[in-house]
């Protein structure tokens, strides 16, 4: 029986070292690439979110400001928009009767509110009256220029479950204003006098965390009330 002799030799130490170095370099490159990709994807996510949600919010705000004739109460975290059920032709006639009464069941009041959630993020909420929850004969509200009156009405309706809560945007953060983070997202307006104010807007930020770094995109959007119509009570007072 003939014995065959194996002619293959083992790797030398030098070859092993070179292979180890090359493998380490490749592994380091792949890890760095994956890390970079993860960071890039986080940035892409934030930007996509800012683009899509920003455009959506601008559109919603534009639609509301198109229908709004007056802002009834203005504060940094809550504003009240009045969208009269009367047609422009009726209210444009200057008739007091067209304006005196606000009907809760006619979807005439829309509150926009920046509310802080349990996880400390902020949401933009639209509150509207649930027509079916308003007791019969209690739907009439008479016009007032007193913002406290409207705040009390809001609290009363919310606490008696007569308001519908519709989140428009969630996971918002306070914007950077002059390089400093504001305490909260906020509404902005042209004039604090509701009888004069003709615009409404909001300032907030989209924020994402990438490791320890914070990625943010600040937004400021404003929209003019296209059909501003001063309530006769403004002229009387």
């Amino acid at each position: 029986m003939r014995m065959t002799r194996c002619t293959r030799r083992a790797f030398t130490l030098i070859e092993m070292l070179i292979a180890t170095v090359i493998t380490t370099m490749i592994a380091a490159t792949v890890i760095a690439l994956i890390g970079g990709l993860a960071g890039a994807l986080a940035i892409q996510d934030l930007r996509s979110e800012a683009i899509v949600r920003g455009a959506g919010l601008q559109s919603h705000l534009g639609l509301l400001s198109l229908k709004t004739r007056m802002t009834l109460a203005l504060s940094e975290q809550r504003v009240l928009l009045w969208l009269p059920a009367e047609t422009l032709a009726e209210s444009g006639s200057g008739s007091d009767s067209a304006f005196d009464r606000i009907d809760l069941v006619d979807d005439e009041l829309h509150w926009l509110e920046f509310a802080q959630e349990a996880d400390e993020s902020w949401s933009l909420i639209e509150w509207t009256v649930k027509a079916e929850a308003v007791p019969a004969g209690e739907s009439a509200v008479y016009f007032s220029t007193d913002s406290e009156f409207w705040d009390n009405l809001f609290v009363q309706l919310r606490d008696t479950d007569q308001l519908r809560r519709s989140p428009i945007a969630v996971n918002l953060a306070p914007p950077l204003v002059a390089g400093v983070a504001a305490a909260a997202p906020r509404f902005i307006w042209q004039s604090a006098d509701i009888c004069v104010n003709r615009s409404i807007g909001a300032e907030f930020a989209f924020v994402a965390l990438e490791g320890d770094a914070e990625l943010r995109s600040d937004m400021r959007m404003e929209s003019a009330l296209a059909f501003f119509d001063r309530h006769p009570i403004c002229t009387e007072s």
């Binding site: 370099m25 940035i43 204003v177 042209q190 003709r198 615009s199 943010r216 400021r220 003019a224």
Partner: protein, 145 residues
């Protein structure tokens, strides 16, 4: 595997990684542009709203350019951080609007033209341009219809 095969594999991997990284980079750049245009749209709309919300007699013809990073609202509020790379030009000109269905009818007002720009490769780049007409209403003209 020989050393030569290892080196070839490394080169192939490096080229693949470079291609992947550059495609992600290109995607990021495109998205940054899209976000800049979204922000530019809100900045332009904001200035248009400023003018539409003003009473007619306080509007005057102007041609004002806010340099990059210096945009403010009419009330003087600074725009937040993300707008720092944008600038804005506002041109307000007196103009008359004609209505095709009503020959001879001229509606006086102001044409508001807002352009928001940034810099790209050392040159100014226009991101968004919005135009709106602010008519003088019958109430503002003091004429009883």
């Amino acid at each position: 595997m020989t050393l030569m095969e290892c080196l070839v594999a490394m080169v192939v991997l490096t080229i693949s990684a470079a291609i992947m990284a550059s495609s992600v980079q290109a995607g990021l750049a495109a998205q940054e542009d899209a976000l800049a245009m979204t922000l530019a749209g809100t900045a332009a709309e904001s200035r248009i709203s400023d003018y539409l919300a003003r009473s007619y007699e306080t509007i005057a013809a102007v041609d004002v350019t806010e340099a990059i990073g210096t945009m403010t609202s009419l009330s003087g509020d600074a725009f937040s951080g993300s707008y720092g790379r944008l600038g804005r030009r506002t041109q307000v000109t007196s103009a008359n609007l004609t209505v095709p269905d009503f020959p001879g009818l001229l509606v006086p007002g102001y044409l508001i033209d807002v352009t928001v720009f940034d810099t790209w490769a050392g040159a100014q780049r226009k991101l968004v341009s919005l135009q709106r007409f602010r008519p003088r209403t019958i109430e503002e003209s003091g004429v009883t219809p």
